[in-house]
């Protein structure tokens, strides 16, 4: 188990990078405590897999340092770093039994058979694989095979960190939830540092204590799931997290108040706004129908199960979405929408206005 520090890491896949765009990872600085559950969340191509491979040692970085417990491991191979990785598709040794698969990393390190037996049996029990130990690994289902991949990582007691690269990709939908819960349960039980890379916000928000949201090779925000939801530091986080994402409306700030379509809206950080491009952000969960507020027309109602998403259009043509819980009435035609002040934020040039510590954590 280890505390991980990522120090000014930059990576380019090109041999002679010159501009910013040549870098897959622009500048990352992260500090992760021991034994925590972390997620790297972001859309495809944002650099999360690159970052993962840099941490695991499968890729040497162009610039920057990686430290495990203060020790510089930047140029160490994966074996020396003592990490484990679970890939997008199950990577198992087809010709071996489940037992031999789990024992493989230990045998390669010269551990004696009696110890191996204990470790393998403990892990198999944790992962509910005990009944399959004698079977050929190739005969298991996809989720069973992913468990074996995970097991190979858990079986080594000296593992510093376990990384997951979108591990539920090939798992059947109805089994995803099961495996996800199992992973979370395991993490809380054995308290090893785990880093989970995904583009699925549900997986990230349910697994991790701390989520690192990435976009375009940069860390956009780090925080707990609640922090990300309540106070997105960047419009990207607002869009990406939450279903549907945050509403953004262009606005001005006059006399310390945010103005949308000529009307004043209360926003906590309006005073901190400067001269850049300004937007007002509010999550659909915090928009309600009211007697006063912005004038809008109800355009569409979508029933997504427990709640309904109502899309309204303002006079300016911008759309505002609301979440209306089951049972509440939905007015039709012309309405007024109002925003909960505590959850309304002004964004300047896509970043939260007045946010002093920008990017990373």
């Amino acid at each position: 188990m280890a505390k991980i520090t990522i120090d000014n890491l930059r990576h380019s896949y090109l041999s002679q990078p010159s501009r910013d765009e040549d870098y897959a990872l622009k500048r990352v600085h992260l500090d992760w405590a021991d034994g925590g559950a972390y997620a790297l969340l972001g859309p495809s191509g944002c650099g999360k897999t690159t970052l993962l491979n840099l941490i695991s040692g499968l890729l040497p970085p162009s610039e920057g340092k990686i430290l495990f417990d203060g020790r510089d491991v930047t140029h160490d191979t994966p074996e020396k770093r003592n990490i484990a990785q679970v890939f997008q598709f199950p990577v198992i040794y087809d010709t071996m039994t489940v037992y031999d698969n789990l024992a493989f990393p230990l045998r390669n390190r010269g551990v004696d058979e009696a110890d191996i037996k204990t470790r393998v049996e403990t892990i198999a029990d944790m992962l509910e694989l005990t009944s399959t130990l004698k079977k050929r690994a190739s005969g298991l289902t996809a989720d069973g095979k992913q468990k074996i991949s995970l097991g190979r990582g858990l079986v080594r007691s000296d593992v510093n960190v376990i990384m997951f690269d979108e591990p539920l990709t090939v798992i059947d939908p109805h089994l995803k939830w099961q495996l996800r819960s199992k992973l979370k349960e395991l993490q809380q039980r054995i308290k090893r540092t785990m880093i989970y890379v995904t583009h699925d916000q549900t997986e990230a928000l349910t697994f991790a204590d701390q989520v690192v949201v990435m976009n375009n090779g940069e860390v956009v925000q780090t925080g707990t799931p609640i922090e990300l939801f309540d106070k997105p530091r960047h419009t990207f986080v607002g869009h990406f997290i939450g279903s549907p994402g945050m509403n953004f409306l262009p606005c001005d700030v006059r006399d310390g108040k945010a103005m949308v379509g000529g009307q004043a809206i209360v926003a906590g950080n309006a005073k901190a706004a400067g001269k850049g491009k300004l937007e007002l952000g509010i999550r659909p969960e915090f928009v309600t129908f009211s007697k006063s507020g912005l004038a809008a027309d109800v355009v569409k109602v979508a029933d997504i199960g427990r709640v309904r998403v109502v899309e309204t259009k303002l006079a300016s043509g911008h759309s505002v979405k609301l979440i209306v819980p089951e049972g509440d009435d939905i007015p039709t035609g012309k309405v007024h929408v109002s925003f909960a002040p505590a959850h309304t934020h002004v964004y300047e040039n896509s970043w939260l206005a007045g946010d002093t510590s920008r990017a990373a954590s």
């Binding site: 990785q85 990577v91 010709t95 493989f104």
Partner: protein, 288 residues
């Protein structure tokens, strides 16, 4: 893919069926005819039953030819499969040189078989050939036209030169299709290169290796042109393999009965082996 059951699909298959049946069934019937009958010309045939078959099966000539073919095939497989695999393992996974290498390696496969024989003929001539002259200069008495051992060595060398690339190309295609993640996982598990070969590469190459062994077995067992051009089956009949012996019977001696019987036995051996390999391969594909 979920296929639809529809017997009208036969219409699509009829051209192929007619073409192949014309070429396969008609000659085969002729061969069967000749194999159980005897003729003294004038289109008169007499029933001979299994005479030709028992003649062939008992003859030393057949046993010798069969033995030579089996030995040749065994040696050639034992060299070409590991060699081809080894070369494929040493090739880079990607890069600008890869296509150049693959094209150069493919060249021997596209040379008419008689040219292959002629090429090695010219190479191996003891007095004017590059190989022949060099070997003799080293003090080894080498003359493939007179010495059975030298003839065998030259033939094997020629076949290795000719066909190893097939194994290499097949194995290379199989190797590059192994996802990187397997090698990464092995690194993380601390596996040594030998373990990577044994537990990742070899199992994933099972399918292409089966095809390679199957093809090389068949083609080396049926070899004709290259041998005929290089040694003519000699010196004596030290390199007379089954095909060569058969053509001698059929076109040389016009011994139709023996030729036909031998053809059937020969074909049956190969059919049996191909059924064996086909079943093995299909079993591999359906196993989990």
């Amino acid at each position: 893919m979920n296929k639809i059951q529809n017997n009208k699909a036969w219409f699509f298959v009829i051209p192929v069926f007619i073409l192949v049946a014309f070429n396969a069934l008609v000659p085969l019937m002729t061969v069967v005819n000749y194999s159980i009958q005897e003729t003294f010309g004038n289109n008169e045939f007499f029933w001979a039953g299994s005479t030709w078959f028992s003649d062939i099966l008992k003859s030393d000539r057949f046993h010798d030819a069969l033995g030579r073919s089996l030995v040749f095939t065994a040696i050639v497989l034992a060299i070409e499969i590991p060699l081809g695999l080894g070369i494929a393992l040493c090739m880079p996974k990607k890069g600008p040189w890869v296509s150049v290498c693959l094209i150069l390696m493919a060249l021997p496969l596209l040379i008419p078989w008689n040219v292959v024989g002629s090429m090695w003929n010219i190479m191996a001539l003891p007095d004017v050939g590059l190989l022949g002259r060099t070997v003799n200069a080293l003090g080894i008495d080498y003359n493939y036209t007179r010495q059975p051992f030298s003839a065998w060595v030259t033939l094997i060398l020629m076949d290795v030169w000719h066909w190893t690339s097939l194994v290499t190309l097949l194995c290379y295609a199989g190797l590059v299709s192994i996802p990187d993640a397997y090698y990464q996982a092995a690194k993380i598990d601390g596996a040594k290169p030998l373990a990577v070969f044994r537990f990742i590469q070899l199992p994933k190459l099972k399918h292409v290796l089966t095809i390679a062994v199957l093809l090389r077995f068949m083609d080396s067992f049926m070899i004709y042109t290259e041998v005929v051009v290089l040694t003519g089956g000699g010196p004596g009949n030290s390199t007379t393999f089954l095909s060569i012996d058969l053509v001698k019977y059929a076109l040389g001696q016009f011994d139709l009965g023996h030729a036909a019987a031998m053809s059937l036995i020969y074909f049956l051996i190969i059919l049996f082996m191909s059924w064996l390999f086909y079943t093995l391969m299909m079993r591999e594909e359906t196993s989990p």
